[in-house]
Amino acid sequence: MTDTTLSSQESIFTSTAKDWSSDMTTFKGVPWGKAMMWIFLLSDTFIFTCFLVGYMVMRMTVTEPWPVASEVFALTVWGVSVPLLLIAIMTFILITSSGTMAMAVNMGYQRRKWAVFWLMVATAALGASFVGMQCFEWPKLILEGVRPWYNPMGAPQFGSIFFMVTGFHGLHVSVGVAYLLIVAIRVVRGKYDHTNFEIVEITGLYWHFVDLFVVRTEA
């Protein structure tokens, strides 16, 4: 397994060509699960991007006015309307959860099981609170009259896209929370003791990906 690190003499292209033309494994040192997760994430990227293409096309073809995001997602704190506060908080939560997840992976490779467990639980908690914020955001918009098929502020597609994309993303986060908790419990129970704890990293890949898309969706 010494060849997992790139030796300095190889150029990008020779190393790529060498890996792709070798026997047994193409992605050297990558466990099956991790390779599968990467490919799944690639596939999932296409799903999310197609949703975003839908968003872009709607936004560009609809002639009715599109609501201004900074006003819609403003939050009134102590009587002052702070634009985009809600989204800012949600982004903060998710990016933080990514940070804790990265730490968990790191701890995993040091085989510190309990540290892994608590960091993953913390990540899951942050993820759950993200979903919780969504549960706050949705009724807020619904109370303002926004529906998937209707939007008092202009183009109805705003509501459609908003509920569809955030719903789909929220689903990913929820699945991720469940996945994190399952893995965390299995880690402390010693199910992965015979491995390198790559499962933590695989879970992490998925979680960061979810995070990645909140970054994209906000635009």
């Binding site: 790139l6 730490m103 490779y109 040091q110 960061h208």
Partner: protein, 127 residues
């Protein structure tokens, strides 16, 4: 065993973590200042790509993967770039067709009043 996995100082995570907030702050600034037009979309896309890049490279450890994997994962989405690019062009086309023929312009410019002898088109009826 412990040396086998990917070992990076924890410091770098914090650094990236902070950077992500900085970028997020900037992209909200774009919304907050209500920048419009191409500049707005350019800035949003730039910040988006920067953030995505850092997450993929550092948090998802892609920086430390071999290039075989990096190319395998990063090349296919180029097809999506083509899709997005073409869809953007076509959306403009559909939008202008709506404005031109369907009277859907949100901010209509006053058209010149109809002309009786408007070039050769009017001749159709005279034949």
């Amino acid at each position: 065993m412990a040396t086998e996995g990917q070992q990076h100082p924890i410091k770098i995570y914090f650094l990236i973590w902070l950077l992500l907030f900085v970028f997020s702050f900037f992209s909200y600034l774009v919304d907050y200042l209500d920048l419009q037009g191409n500049l707005r979309w350019f800035l949003i896309v730039v910040f988006m790509l920067l953030k995505a890049g850092f997450i993929v490279a550092i948090f998802m450890h892609m920086k430390w993967e071999r290039f075989a994997l990096i190319f395998g994962i990063l090349l296919p989405p180029l097809a999506l770039v083509v899709l997005m690019f073409l869809m953007a062009i076509e959306s403009n086309y559909a939008w202008s067709s709506r404005v031109q023929y369907m009277g859907e312009d949100p901010a209509p410019k006053p058209k010149p009043p109809p002309h009786m002898d408007h070039g050769e088109h009017g001749e159709d009826k005279d034949h």
